[in-house]
């Protein structure tokens, strides 16, 4: 080979190397996230599912939010002060932030957003959460004043709720209250690109994002992959960088692949059996205690949750603000039998157990409970209700005295991360169906007054004392069989970092990066 040739070759090699690095530097960092169900809307104020709200966090941000451990943090807000009477909250905003359409973010934008949801004419599904706001005023460009109809101490948590995002007022005016769902414009790190119903929702990097240097990826494609096995398969073929939830049966195969990492993270999703305390035999606290003693939670976790859960440690799961650790309730079938005898049911009784869901995990849970209670003489007829049946039989029952529900397997996660929304809808006597979900029809003076008093108390220590008392009372009265708190299993490609499943089953991807 002549030297001429060699130099030509080396030139090509250099050129290739240079273009190679150039390519690497400009390589699009596109990530795909596989999730379990289709999104319902891109408007968080009209969404009732965690997933739609989690995805909306790509383009929207709230005044407050939750970090990856579900600690409340200011996002677009800087700080707040509450008045002594708990009626007026003044929030200071960050400045220099722009929406995707270049509209400046300021107090007027906040006002426009909250005026929209608090107007019942807009018929938004999250009206419930914000209806307590009497008025929102823009004091100056960076100060907003919320005046409430009645004192409500977890108000800032409500602002941190994933639905409480700030929408560009210009876009709101342009597209209208209904149209904004097709054209979301927020302050988030990503701009909305397109949403193809079941196929995917795509967002791309917003260059004018207020946190300089972020986001570090160019786009996120949210892909609903409903089938469990398929969701595992797209991770194996590298078609997705993150998948949640991971079916327990797929964990073993996925963990064998060196490029993937499985994470089981704590959650505030609790599972329990409510017992209709207005009806025999569940009006007798001994029967309810007996049922708590009769169920082996550790075995339940192995059978139904493949090990990805922990026994319930109290009325509220750890991670919810003001949760008290009271358990777990011990497994003691002998004691259960003794209690049933004392209650006048030495030979047990027959009753029904309904499940609010009909997926496999729920089926396993109710069958396991059926088998466990049979050991102490309680014969259960089990039935997993389909969504429509659930609404008809349980949630729409008009009269507490004749409500057909007896034992009911269901779950809850407090979407504000706070004790009020974890207790009031489920255990306050004002929350009997059809109003809310106190399916145990549980009524206790101590609990009711603690919940009501906490709402008007801004003093944290006092609130903690009230909530702890209430939880102790509930644990003692046992209107529920306290079962488990789930763990959330997700899988990520190892070159992806900063993408988390947070305890309420939503996502945090503020620091997402792809290496």
């Amino acid at each position: 080979m002549t030297s001429h040739h060699r130099s030509a070759l080396s030139r090509i090699a250099v050129a290739l190397a240079v273009s190679g690095t150039a390519l690497a530097a400009h390589a699009a960092k596109d990530i795909t996230v596989a999730v379990a169900s289709t999104f319902t809307t891109t408007d968080p104020y009209d969404a009732n599912d965690t997933l739609s709200q989690a995805v909306a966090k790509s383009f929207y941000q709230g005044l407050y939010g939750f970090d990856k451990d579900m600690k409340m943090v200011p996002v677009l807000a800087d700080s707040y002060t509450a008045s002594k009477d708990g009626l007026v909250y003044t929030v200071k905003l960050k400045s220099g932030i722009k929406f995707h359409d270049n509209t400046p973010f300021n107090a007027e934008a906040v006002k426009a957003t909250f005026d929209r949801v608090t107007n019942p004419d807009n018929k938004l599904k999250r009206y419930n959460l914000y209806k307590n706001i009497a008025k929102t005023e823009a004091v100056d460009a960076t100060t907003v004043r919320f005046t409430l109809k009645e004192p409500f101490s977890p108000f800032i948590n409500t602002l941190a709720h994933p639905s409480g995002v700030i929408i560009s007022p210009a876009a709101l005016a342009q597209y209208g209250s209904k149209g904004i769902a097709q054209h979301p414009v927020g302050t988030g790190p990503f701009k909305f690109v397109e949403w193809k119903a079941t196929d995917y929702l795509k967002v791309e990097k917003f260059d004018g994002y207020w946190k300089k240097g972020w986001p570090k990826v160019d786009s996120i494609t949210w892909r609903p992959v409903v089938d469990n096995n398929t969701r595992a398969a797209v991770m194996q073929t590298n078609e997705a960088h993150f998948a949640f939830p991971v079916p327990p049966e797929a964990v073993e195969t996925l963990s064998k692949k060196p490029s993937l990492e499985i994470t089981a993270s704590p959650s505030i999703i609790q599972r329990y059996l409510s017992m209709n305390t207005q009806q025999k035999p569940f009006d007798n606290p001994k029967v309810r205690e007996a049922i708590n003693y009769a169920i082996n939670k550790d075995a339940l976790i192995k059978v139904a949750f493949s090990g990805y859960a922990i026994p319930a440690e109290g009325v509220l799961p750890h991670g919810v603000e003001y949760a008290a650790k009271l358990g777990p309730w011990p497994y003691d079938p002998a004691k259960a039998r003794a209690l049933l005898k004392e209650a006048g049911y030495p030979n047990g009784f027959e009753t029904t157990l309904w499940s609010a869901y009909n997926h496999t995990t729920a089926q396993k849970v109710i069958q396991f409970v059926q088998q466990q209670l049979a050991q102490v003489g309680i014969k259960l007829q089990v039935q997993a209700l389909e969504a429509g049946q659930r609404v008809e039989r349980v949630e729409s029952a008009q009269d507490p005295a004749t409500a057909p529900v007896r034992m009911y397997y269901v779950g809850w996660s407090s979407s504000t991360g706070e004790a009020d929304w974890a207790m009031r809808p489920l255990l306050a006597s004002e929350s009997f169906p059809p109003k809310l979900f106190n399916t145990a029809y549980y009524k206790n003076e101590v609990v009711d007054s603690a919940i009501a008093k906490s709402l008007v108390t801004t003093d944290k220590a006092e609130k903690a004392r009230l909530y702890t008392d209430a939880q102790k009372q509930i644990w003692k009265d046992a209107p529920w069989a306290f079962l488990v708190t789930e763990r959330l299993v997700s899988v990520r490609a190892k070159n992806l970092s900063g993408f988390y499943v947070i305890p309420d089953g939503s996502f945090n991807f503020d620091d997402v990066e792809l290496k």
């Binding site: 009732n48 599904k125 009206y127 409903v226 398969a233 078609e239 429509g388 609404v391």
Partner: protein, 306 residues
Amino acid sequence: MAVYLLKRLLGLLPTLLIVAVLVFAFVHLLPGDPARLAAGVDAGPETVELVRRDLGLDLPLPQQFVRFFSHALQGDFGLSIRSKRPVSTEIAERFGPTFFLTIAAMGWSVLLGLVLGVASAVWRNRWPDRLGMTFAISGISFPSFALGMVLMQLFSVQLGWLPTVGADTWKHYILPSLTLGAGVAAVMARFTRSSFIDILKEDYVRTARAKGLGELPVVFKHGLRNALIPVVTMMGLQFGFLLGGSIVVEVVFNWPGMGRLLVDAVEMRDYPLIQALVLLFSLEFILINLLVDVLYAVINPTIRFQ
């Protein structure tokens, strides 16, 4: 012929009208309150009422029917309860992927089914027959859910040749159409075989052979055309079913099709969407039937339109 077609198309209207009435009645008989379902778990009674009014479900039933019907006549099927997008958009987005997948699946499965069926009939009780019918029985018996997962495991996960989910390129069509078509190919093969065996026993086939025609012209000129009539009927039916979308294949391959749309709609008691979908499915079946009738005349010119 044109008059016949026109008559048939006009006859479509009363059928659709009856379907519309029935569907409306049945949908409202389903247990469960759509407003409660749409409002979600966190909602209080006030929100449920807001949602109910938003969806127009607070009106008396007859009034709701009149509203549905008069709007439907103008081609407006309302907004989906679940997504708040126009029902027509929701359906249009899904129709394409389902339609092309149906064509892809029907294409290969009908051809393969015909070949297997004819071969099995001609070489009846010999090895091509045994082989063909083994395939047909497995095709019918093997659940498509399992077949889809096996195919995906093999070709996407292990070999990495084909993508798993989505409907963007022709490659995405291969695995779902194989899964979807397997059952159809099997049915077609069985049908063609039995129809062909009957035909081969006919007098005119014996006559054709007796006058010294070779086996090929006997089978393809005299046999095939006559044997096709029941096969085409079956083909039409299968085509109609596939156009309704296959929930199984759509779940496994995450296919953005009509089957899941309908199941999701029923789950959420999405009245406007269910009504529009059922009407569409009825229309599809009627049109396919018409097409099948026209095909009869093409295949066998002795069939005349009345």
